[in-house]
Amino acid sequence: MTDRPEDRTPSAVRPYVITRGRSDTGGEPLAWETLVMATDAAFPPSLQPEHHKILTHCQGLLSVAEVAAHLGQPPSVVQVLLSDLVAWGLIVIRPPIPPAEHTDVTMLRKVLHGLESRL
């Protein structure tokens, strides 16, 4: 994910038109399961319609993947738009459980018990 070719032409990928050709989030892209939510900040009037749509969908916590599905846009596009919104202070994120904790047995047991309670 970090070594995207920078020479890709925007015109090759139509959805990237709405990111103005950007396929790079300027940092590590948000993982699909990262939770995002709109802040209380007022929307600046100059927002692009796609940014605006994201904010209207994010009145509660949603994952990046869900935002993409609700918007009907590929996650890779939504990741770019969300990064903009994070940078502007219009979206806050709750990052996924860090990989270092994936083998944390306490966390895994919690998931296990949560699943068992659904039986």
């Binding site: 993982a31 509660g60 994952s63 895994l108 998931v111 296990l112």
Partner: protein, 255 residues
């Protein structure tokens, strides 16, 4: 059914549009359906991949256990089909792959996403990003076409992602013994292999439980001993290392 998590959880953020969200005119779906949002108390998310060939029941299983209607999104793949897919436009190597996913809120504090991922080798690039940060994977197998699952299993092994195998039993599927299946799929002895009915909640949750059990069993030993290390020993403590046990006396249960 104990799992009513979806509909009327008071904790859940209400779908009420905020003061400045009057414009939902061109939102593709209903923007305010109940249960759309993750419970406000959730502090983090984890994910599990559900992998397997087309038609093996990935979306069925995800829909069975998910608290939301499974959603679909199209991941873009670049350079993916090289040498495999026929690319009509030379130089254009972007294609999309549909991924269905669902979610399960655990304990009100953690949300688990299940991403259905097509198994074919040519989708491996799309997997890499998804696999990154996954707890593990569930590989679905249809005994009517075991070979169709080989790619998915191979991809999991390549990625080093721990997994459990679930045989989605279709009516009239050939019956094999566990031994035969393990041999055919070339599974490691400790890889869980369970039968399931992806349409059945209990059965589908059971296979996820088998996967979690496997993840716990294979967690590195130090992860089990996550008890805090001995409290800061008094500065005068002469030795930090535990006294070496006399050889032989503590020989761990050898098999």
């Amino acid at each position: 059914m104990a799992s009513k998590a979806v509909s009327d959880d008071p904790d859940r953020a209400s779908g009420q549009p905020g003061p400045h969200t009057g414009r939902t005119r061109d939102t593709p779906g209903p923007g305010t359906q109940p249960g759309k949002y993750v419970s406000a108390g959730v502090v983090g998310a984890a994910k599990i991949l559900v992998v397997g060939p087309l038609g093996v029941g990935k979306t069925t299983l995800i829909g069975t256990v998910s608290e939301i209607k499974p959603l679909s999104t199209e991941a873009m793949m670049t350079q993916a089909g090289a040498g495999v897919d026929t690319v009509l436009t030379p130089g254009k190597t972007t294609t999309t792959v549909a991924l269905d996913f669902g979610r399960i809120t655990i304990d009100g504090a953690l949300v688990l996403y299940l991403f259905g991922t097509p198994g074919q080798q040519r989708f491996l690039p799309a997997w890499r990003d998804l696999a990154k940060g996954s707890l593990g994977a569930l590989a679905l197998v249809d005994t009517r076409d075991l070979a169709a699952s080989f790619d998915a299993l191979g991809n999991l092994e390549d990625l080093g992602l721990p997994f459990a195998v679930a045989v989605n039993v279709f009516p009239g599927s050939p019956q094999y013994t566990e031994h035969e299946l393990r041999a055919a799929l070339d599974l490691l002895p400790d890889t869980p292999l369970v039968a399931c009915d992806a349409r059945n909640l209990r059965s589908s949750v059971q296979v996820l439980i088998a996967l979690l059990g496997h993840l716990i069993d294979t967690a590195p030993p130090e992860a089990h001993g996550l008890v805090p290390p001995p409290a800061p020993a008094p500065a005068s403590a002469p030795a930090v290392a535990p006294a070496p046990a006399p050889a032989g006396s503590t020989a761990t249960e050898s098999l």
